[in-house]
Amino acid sequence: MDCYTANWNPLGDSAFYRKYELYSMDWDLKEELRDCLVAAAPYGGPIGLQSAPSCWTVLCQDRVAHILLAVGPDLYLLDHAACSAVTPPGLAPGVSSFLQMAVSFTYRHLALFTDTGYIWMGTASLKEKLCEFNCNIRAPPKQMVWCSRPRSKERAVVVAWERRLMVVGDAPESIQFVLDEDSYLVPELDGVRIFSRSTHEFLHEVPAASEEIFKIASMAPGALLLEAQKEYEKESQKADEYLREIQELGQLTQAVQQCIEAAGHEHQPDMQKSLLRAASFGKCFLDRFPPDSFVHMCQDLRVLNAVRDYHIGIPLTYSQYKQLTIQVLLDRLVLRRLYPLAIQICEYLRLPEVQGVSRILAHWACYKVQQKDVSDEDVARAINQKLGDTPGVSYSDIAARAYGCGRTELAIKLLEYEPRSGEQVPLLLKMKRSKLALSKAIESGDTDLVFTVLLHLKNELNRGDFFMTLRNQPMALSLYRQFCKHQELETLKDLYNQDDNHQELGSFHIRASYAAEERIEGRVAALQTAADAFYKAKNEFAAKATEDQMRLLRLQRRLEDELGGQFLDLSLHDTVTTLILGGHNKRAEQLARDFRIPDKRLWWLKLTALADLEDWEELEKFSKSKKSPIGYLPFVEICMKQHNKYEAKKYASRVGPEQKVKALLLVGDVAQAADVAIEHRNEAELSLVLSHCTGATDGATADKIQRARAQAQKK
């Protein structure tokens, strides 16, 4: 107790730390703790020790990933929830540890290498054994991979130790290679790639077609065809013999197919060529051999040879290439910036531009814009020179990339080449080039786009600048005016003001006088503003008319006060009519004089109003007040309209000679009309009267007219 703080260790000025023993442990451990996997839980939880797995791998079954791990002699299968022990069927006894495991390229097969030098090969489901092999080498291999080929029944595993490579399969013996250097195995779809410091090799099962053709003393049709072609080149008649032999067996088609297929599996262009030559030679003797397979093989090999070239270094086999597809291969070339080769391939294969050349050029351009040491000008020009109007290239995508790299100016230059305004404008807005966006939107004619930019600009600029911008863009200005007409009337006024557009300002205030103002004073005031605007616009007529309207409004108001009834918003004409109908003839006269209603219209007006009133007495008085400026036919017409034939007849007699016939017909005096017409010797009038002659009553009149006509003709 005397020095309780003895095991206290200071850290800094104010803190101490101490460590004291909980238990002394006496575990019966076979391995050192460092060889174990340790799991311990907090809150004084238990401690678990587990010796580390000697090897493990990922299995994939039914789209679920499992882990297979080996600990000592046991195998466990883990998934996201459980861990279960598994035993491979037919596993040789005596295994105390698994040293390597390998899953095939297709995840279908599994190989296990045990510490006894025994290799178990079976399905990845661990339900079936395919074969086993004892290599008697107990040293742990460096690598073990499967070597198989799609659609081949053969299964083999390649095991690599430091200096030894062994191929084992379902056979009592194995193939062994010596490795000169440290090597690494890459499992492939159809074989194994082996590379070291100085070499790069491919190990695979010889494909069936190649085997048939090149196997020693093969009599397969392909082999014979290849032989035949060689003989043919030597100008030997043996060519014919071989060919005959194939043909007699009816195997020429098969022979050609074999040669084509085998060519695909050859790595050396010379060998490819001689096989293809043989195929081509064989084809000559076939009537209907579809050319596609031959042509495609030639094209594919050309592409493959190009990418296999050591400058590029993509050692694809034919099967891999077919599995990979040309699109993915192109993507890989593009990622490696091998643009010219990619484009050559596209052009050679005649891929549609949108999938091929355009796509690659677009990638190239996106890369190009990242070259910061080249000036904007040069980059933009270079891109446009290469891309031109290539279909399917989106300049806006490239511009967006340039903008992403902080090269706004370049982005703008590139956008110049973008024909789709729908793409161009939003990006320009994003880059805060609103004014440029506006002119681009206007160019496109897409008004919706223009509106979008306008509203953007409106928020971005202060009002004065915004208006100035509009001023320079008449189309945008008129669109914005339309917008304001419906949405922001006050702004509309400001716009007209800014442009000194007094004519429109006048109209604006007229609208306001109807829409916004209720009280008569307010309306008159609005009209006064309108009139002032019209004067400024030098529209004398409109200004005067507006002043007249103000006068009329005030007057109508007074009439309503004095006489009652509705006068407001009647036209002048209707106001006068209403006054006459109400019997206020004096006032009507006064009004007509004040506003200088032309005489003719006033006569019509009075005539109509009095007839409406059926005030025939007043009408007659009016008709005699002075000589009618509209003649007397309207009087006849209007009386007849009110079905007053009696009154009508009074006026018919006063109708001038030109319209007399018409008037008489209106009042139904056919006989007299006929007389007048005959007197006028007017053919048109005669026909008119004749057309009015109906039935028996007018029979005599009709005869009379006919006689007059006949007489006229005689003369």
Binding site: E353, V354, S358, D389, P391, G392, P419, R420, E443, S444, G445, D446, T447, D448, L449, F451, T452, L455, P474, M475, L477, S478, L479, R481, Q482, H486, Q487, Q503, S507, I510, R511, S513, Y514, A515, F541, A542, A545, T546, D548, Q549, L552, D569, L570, S571, L572, H573, D574, F595, I597, P598, K600, R601, W603, W604, L605, T608, I630
Partner: protein, 596 residues
């Protein structure tokens, strides 16, 4: 099927089917039962594309008209708004959606913009907080709607006003888009001609749009040989005059809407004995007018004066056909007669309808006022007394005839005189304001802005030159068996159609001087075709011209173009497209402004 669309030189059913397909595809995107909320203006044009049956096939169960407040109740999964891209409509939609949200069970909302999606509208919906409520926001590019075998219209009412008064080119953009759609279906049109400012813009837009589409090489053999774009303001005269063809007169008097006309029912009363005329139908009679009806196709474009004789001839043929039954002796003959009955009865029904309509029209055309109006119109068009105040117009104002009629006449006089003398113009204007009310000053301003009404500048009247060069007035017109397009107005040959006629033969070079007087540039553009698509014309094979009237076209002009198409040695057949089918009345009406 709309068989009448496929009778023409160009099968417009292809277009109709294409737009129907697009509609079906959209409806199928919104799985489950549906209600459509209609922007009312769209229902007419849509009727020509898809009847209710098509919508029903795609689970459309209810249809409503777009109105404020909440939507009527409907037990459906989807609610789809069919609207034009207009801000005021977006406000209503937002109101609908918000009140629906409060109601409870959520539905799926969709919006279909016709003819184009609009960023502006979507922004408005976003501001109103409802943009996220819509699952599908799409556009339905119904620009050009097939009306008949040779007729397409955008039915855009405001197009003329927007383009020529308000500087709003939206409808031109849609026109260009519509033309691109046509080219996608019927091949690139190798030659584009045009006259007028708007025509120039549409052509520019087309060329631009074509550039946007590079890559998708159009490999369709071109059906149209050329395209003629015409501004309405190149020919302001024609629509002002009263149309004198059968169809034109129906439109002038009763107004044709989306190929339907509503007529007073009296003349169509079923003529059955014993009814005693008690139950006269009171609802207007609605008739569809298109070439699907054989008889209508035959008479629609004739001068009205020639219609009577055709109808009576037809009547004779039909009654003779019915008389045949007395001659049918053998069972075979009777059978044959019976088999023809349905066709004959249809023909008789059609004849009865046509005769009734003809009678209705005749009541109007034989009236004295109609005659007087026509006389004045014809005087103006032939250049008589256009420079002084006209008595008849004065009397019309004094008697308060319809304002539109007066405006049509005054404008006609102004156009036929290259503007009125200031004194005459002011007199008319004053008379109109005093008689019809001061508020019409706004309408007068609009007419002046559109160039329909204007003071003569420079004291020069160009109209006589134009009239003489283009032979717009023909004294010896044959209404029964016409030899010239002037029959459609009984003397006046529509300027627009004359331009088209002269373009096809001998070419516009012969009338350069007049073209310079008419407003706007004239131009020609070529759209190169790949060699494989170039046409080798067979001898005697007619060219096909698509003529697009920007700002509207009248039925009389259409009749005149059809007349040219049918000429044996004409050499050109026309397909007509327009922003709107219109007449002088609907035209002026669209330009009028009523502040209250």
């Amino acid at each position: 099927m709309a068989a009448h669309l496929s009778y023409g030189r160009v099968n417009l059913n292809v277009l109709r089917e294409a737009v129907r397909r697009e509609l079906r595809e959209f409806l199928d995107k919104c799985a489950g039962s549906k209600a459509i909320v209609w922007d009312e203006y769209l229902t007419g044009p849509f009727g020509l594309i898809a009847q209710y049956s098509l919508l029903k096939e795609h689970e459309v169960e209810k249809m409503f008209t777009l109105k404020g407040n909440r939507l009527p109740a409907a037990d459906v999964k989807n609610i789809i708004f069919f609207v034009r891209p207009r801000l005021e409509l977006m406000d209503i939609i937002a109101e609908n959606v918000l009140s629906e949200d409060r109601r409870g069970p959520t539905r799926d909302f969709h919006i279909l913009f016709v003819p184009r999606r609009s960023l502006l509208c979507e922004q408005r919906l976003k501001d109103l907080g409802v943009l996220g409520s819509f699952i599908h926001r799409e556009e339905y590019s119904l620009d050009l709607i097939p009306f008949d075998g040779d007729l397409l219209s955008m039915e855009s009412e405001g197009a003329f006003k927007e383009c020529y008064l308000e500087g709003d080119q939206t409808s031109l953009y849609h026109a260009a888009k519509g033309l691109m759609t046509l080219q996608a279906l019927y091949g690139t049109i190798p030659q584009i001609f045009g006259k007028g400012e708007c025509a120039r813009q549409v052509a520019n837009m087309m060329i631009r749009m074509k550039r946007e589409f590079t890559g998708s090489q159009n490999s369709i053999f071109p059906v149209f040989d050329n395209l003629l774009l015409l501004d309405r303001n190149v020919d302001l005269l024609t629509p002002l005059a009263t149309q004198l063809t059968y169809e034109g007169l129906i439109d002038e008097i009763y107004g044709i809407q989306n190929s339907y006309v509503k007529l007073p029912p009296e003349k169509f009363a079923p003529k059955k004995q014993g009814d005693g005329g008690k139950d006269l139908p009171t609802e207007a009679k609605k008739l569809q007018l298109n070439s699907a009806e054989e008889l209508y196709a035959e008479i629609r474009d004739k001068n009205f004066n020639a219609v009577g004789s055709v109808l009576s001839k037809k009547a004779k043929i039909i009654s003779a056909a019915f008389e045949e039954r007395h001659n049918a002796k053998t069972v075979g003959e009777i059978k044959q007669f019976v088999s023809q009955l349905p066709h004959m009865q249809a023909a008789r029904g059609s004849l009865a309808n046509r005769t009734s309509i003809a009678e209705l029209i005749k009541d109007v055309t034989t009236s004295e006022d109609f005659f007087d109006k026509l006389t004045v119109e014809q005087e103006f068009m032939s250049g008589i007394d256009t420079d002084k105040v006209n008595n008849y117009i004065e009397d019309c104002i004094a008697q308060k005839h319809s304002l539109i009629k007066v405006l049509r006449l005054v404008c006609l006089q102004s156009v036929c005189n290259s503007g009125l003398k200031q004194k005459v113009l002011d007199y008319y204007k004053r008379e109109i304001l005093q008689t019809y009310g001061y508020e019409h000053i706004l309408t007068l301003h609009n007419l002046e802005k559109a160039g329909l009404l204007k003071p003569q500048t420079g004291g020069r009247n160009n109209y006589p030159t134009i009239r003489k060069t283009l032979r717009l007035w023909m004294d010896d017109v044959n209404e029964q068996n016409p030899t010239d397009i002037s029959y459609v107005y009984s003397g006046y040959a529509p300027l627009s159609v004359r331009l088209a006629q002269l373009l096809s033969r001998p070419g516009w070079r012969s009338i350069e001087e007049v073209l310079r007087i008419l407003p706007g540039p004239h131009f020609e553009e070529r759209q190169p075709l790949p060699t494989g698509l170039q046409k080798k014309r067979q001898p005697g094979e007619n060219r096909v011209t698509l003529i697009f009237f920007l700002g509207g076209v009248t039925f009389a002009e259409i009749a005149a173009l059809r007349f040219l198409s049918q000429l044996e040695d004409g050499g050109t057949e026309y397909v007509i497209a327009t922003t709107k089918l219109m007449n002088g009345t609907s035209w002026i009406e669209a330009l009028m402004e009523k502040p209250f």
